[in-house]
Amino acid sequence: MSDRILLAHGSGGRLAHELIEKVLLKPLSNPLLDRLDDSAVVPFSGRLAFTTDSYVVNPIFFPGGDIGKLAVCGTVNDLSMMGATPLYLSLAFIIEEGLPLDELERVLVSVQAAAREAQVQIVTGDTKVVNKGSADRLFVNTAGVGVVPEGIDISGSSAKPGDKVILSGTIGDHGIAVLSQREGIGFSTRLESDCAPLNGLVAEMLAASKRIHAMRDPTRGGLATTLNEIASQSKVGIRIEEEKVPVREEVRGACEMLGIDPLYVANEGKLVALVHSEDANAILETMRHHRYGKNAAIIGEVRPDHPGRVVMKTTLGASRIVDMLVGDPLPRIC
C-alpha cells in the first residue's frame, strides 16, 4: 500500500477495499462491523437516544488526544448527557488526499482505545477522499445511539429554581491545549486536553440520585454558553460564583496572557449538572470519587429571577452578567 491516502482509496474500488480491510477494520474489528454490510442491524427495545456530530479540529493531534478520541468521546458524551447508556457509533471519514497513512492509523488506534473505555462499538462507517485543499487533512463525522433507562428524563429545559449547579472539574483545559499548538500563538505548557468519555461518571451520578434535571457538556463556547443555553431553554436564571469555578493554574496563565476568558473556552471531558438541591451533596461526593470528577464543585444555583440570564458574583462580591460567546475567543492585545 502507498504510504499516503490517494483519491482512489475513496472510490469504492480495489484500493478502497484494501484500505478498509488492512487499515480500518483491524483496530476496530467487532462482529457487527466485520460483516461490512450496508447497515448494522441490532436488536433494540426502549427509548432510543440518537445523536450526530462532526469533528474538524485543527491540528488533528494535540496534547492529550486527537480527532479520533475526540469523536468517540464527544458522541458518547452527547448520549450520556441525556442519561442514555451509549451503545453503538457510526464513524465516517472525509480524508484530504495526501494524508500520511500512519496518521490515519494513529487516529484509528485512538478511536479503538476510546471506544473500549466507553464500552461502545463502532458498527458501521464510511470513507471518502477529497482533493487536496478540500478538507483540512481529516474530517470525522459520527452518529451514536443509546438507550435511555425507564424513569430518566433529563433535558436542558428541565432545570428548576432551587436546583444546584454542579461542574465536574476544571474548565478550559481542552481549548487551551489545542490553542498552544496553533501557529502564531505558540506557547509551551504541560496542559493536556481533558478529552474523556463521561458515561461511567454519569452512571454513578444517576445511581446516587434520580433528580438530575438537566445536564450538558460545555464544549464549544465554554461553560458560559452552556449555562446560557440551559437558562434560556428552562426559562430560569442561573447564578454562579467566580471563586467556586475550578480553573487550572496553567489555563489561567495562558488566558491572562492572551486575554481570553476561561468561561468561554471549550471543554471535552466535563459536564455541568443541574440537580435537586437536596441531592446535590450526595451527587457531588459520588463525582469526586470518580476519575473524571475529582475536582467537581457546586458552583451556583438556579433562580426564578432574571430568566434566561446567567449572573456571576465576582471575587469582589459584585455581580456581572455572563453572556453567551460571540465568535471564537481570540488572543488580543487590548
Binding site: G259, A318, I321
Partner: protein, 364 residues
C-alpha cells in the same frame, strides 16, 4: 508573592472600598482613558461597589475603537492583494470597515492570520519567503515599541518580505483634544497603566498643571483600580491636582527610555484620524523615511475605496464620553457583539461591548 492574585484579594478590596465610602463627600466624575480599564471595571463590577458620589465615564482609550474606517479599509484592501499574508492582532478581525471586515475578507479568500506578537509575524515572513507579510500595526505607546523592534529585527536579519501598515497612535494629544473641547467636565483622570509604563507618568503632568485635573496612573487588577479611585478621591477632597502613580510596581515617572527610543527611531509623529474625535495633529505614528522599505503604504499599490460611516452609530460620541452606550438607539437592538455596527461593540474593550457583556442591568 503571587503578583496577579495578590492584587485581587477581596479582603484588601474591602479596606479600599471602605476608605472610598468614608472619604468621598464631593461629587466626582472620573474618566478612565484606557479600554483595558473599562473592561476591568465592568468585569469586576467595580461601579456597584462605589458610593453614589462617584460617576465613572469611559474615554477613547481603545486603539481598536478609535481606528477610523479609512484605515481599516486600507488593511482590507491590502489583505486582498495576491501574495499578501496580512497578520494582525485578534482584536482587529471583526471590526467593520466601510464595506467589509478582515474576517469577511478572509472568508472570501484573503490570507488573514491572527498573531499574538510581531515575533510570530516575523516567523511567518521567514517561513514564506515568496509571500509578502504585512503586519497591521494598531495600538498605542505600549504596542508601538514592539512593532518598531520588529522592524529593526527585520532590518538586522535582512528579511525583505516584512511590512508594517501603521495605524499606531499616541495618547496625550487626544486626551488634550478632549479636554480642550470642553464637552465633558472631569474631576479626575484614571491614567492608562501600560502606556505609562512606557511613556512615564510625567507624560500626564500637563493635565494636572494646565487643566487642574488630578491624575492617577492605575494598574488593571481590581485592587489597582480601587486604590486609584481612593487616591483620586483623596486629591479631590483636598482640592489638589497632581499626577500620582498607584501602579508603582509597573510605572515610574520617566518610563522605559529604551522602549521610547526604539519607537521614535522607527516612527515619527504625524496627524491621525481618531474615530469620533477627528484629526488630531501629532497623534499618529508613521514609519520614518529611513524605514520606508518596510512601510506597507509605500510598498503596495492598493485602493481602499471611499470611506463610509455607519448610519445611526454614535461610537464617536460614546468614545468622547458625551454619550453612554445606553443613549445609542442601535445598542442591543441592532448593534450587538454578534452583529456589531461600530467598533465600540466589536472591540472586546469597547464601551458598548463592555456594557453589553457585563452590566447586570436587572440587578441595578
Amino acid at each position: 508573592m503571587r503578583l496577579a492574585d495578590d492584587f485581587r484579594n477581596s479582603d484588601l478590596a474591602k479596606g479600599l472600598i471602605d476608605g472610598i465610602h468614608r472619604n468621598s463627600t464631593k461629587k466626582a466624575r472620573l474618566m478612565e482613558f484606557c479600554g483595558g480599564h473599562t473592561v476591568a471595571i465592568m468585569k469586576h463590577g467595580i461601579r456597584q461597589l462605589l458610593p453614589s458620589t462617584i460617576e465613572m465615564l469611559s474615554g477613547p482609550g481603545c486603539p481598536v475603537c478609535v481606528t477610523d474606517n479609512s484605515d481599516l479599509d486600507k488593511a482590507i484592501a491590502l489583505a486582498r492583494l495576491p501574495g499578501v499574508i496580512l497578520t494582525t492582532f485578534g482584536d482587529m478581525l471583526k471590526v467593520p470597515g466601510s464595506r467589509s471586515s478582515l474576517q469577511e475578507a478572509r472568508a472570501e479568500g484573503a490570507d488573514v492570520r491572527i498573531v499574538y506578537s510581531t515575533l510570530d509575524a516575523l516567523q511567518i515572513a521567514r517561513q514564506n519567503p515568496s509571500r509578502k507579510v504585512v503586519f497591521l500595526g494598531v495600538g498605542f505607546e505600549t504596542t508601538a515599541p514592539t512593532v518598531a523592534a520588529s522592524v529593526l529585527q527585520a532590518e538586522k536579519e535582512g528579511i525583505g518580505n516584512y511590512y508594517v501598515l501603521s495605524m499606531h497612535k499616541v495618547c496625550p494629544p487626544a486626551i488634550k483634544a478632549i479636554l480642550d473641547s470642553g464637552e465633558v467636565k472631569l474631576s479626575g483622570l484614571i491614567c492608562p497603566g501600560h502606556v505609562s509604563a512606557v511613556v512615564g507618568s510625567a507624560a500626564w503632568d500637563f493635565i494636572a498643571r494646565d487643566y487642574g485635573i488630578p491624575c492617577v496612573v492605575s494598574g488593571f487588577e481590581p485592587l489597582d483600580i480601587l486604590q486609584t479611585v481612593h487616591m483620586l478621591v483623596s486629591q479631590l477632597e483636598k482640592g489638589e491636582s497632581r499626577v500620582e502613580i498607584a501602579y508603582r510596581r509597573g510605572v515610574t515617572a520617566e518610563g522605559n527610555r529604551r522602549a521610547l527610543e526604539t519607537m521614535y527611531q522607527v516612527f515619527e509623529l504625524c496627524p491621525a484620524r481618531w474615530r469620533g474625535v477627528g484629526t488630531v495633529g501629532g497623534s499618529g505614528l508613521r514609519l520614518r523615511k529611513a524605514y520606508r522599505r518596510f512601510d506597507a503604504e509605500a510598498a503596495f499599490e492598493f485602493d481602499p475605496g471611499p470611506t463610509v460611516e455607519p448610519k445611526g452609530c454614535i461610537c464617536g460620541e460614546v468614545l468622547r464620553a458625551v454619550k453612554t452606550p445606553r443613549d445609542c438607539g442601535l445598542f442591543r437592538t441592532v448593534c450587538t457583539p454578534a452583529n456589531p455596527v461600530g467598533p465600540c461593540m466589536v472591540s472586546s474593550e469597547g464601551s458598548c461591548a463592555a456594557y453589553y457583556l457585563y452590566e447586570a442591568t436587572d440587578e441595578r
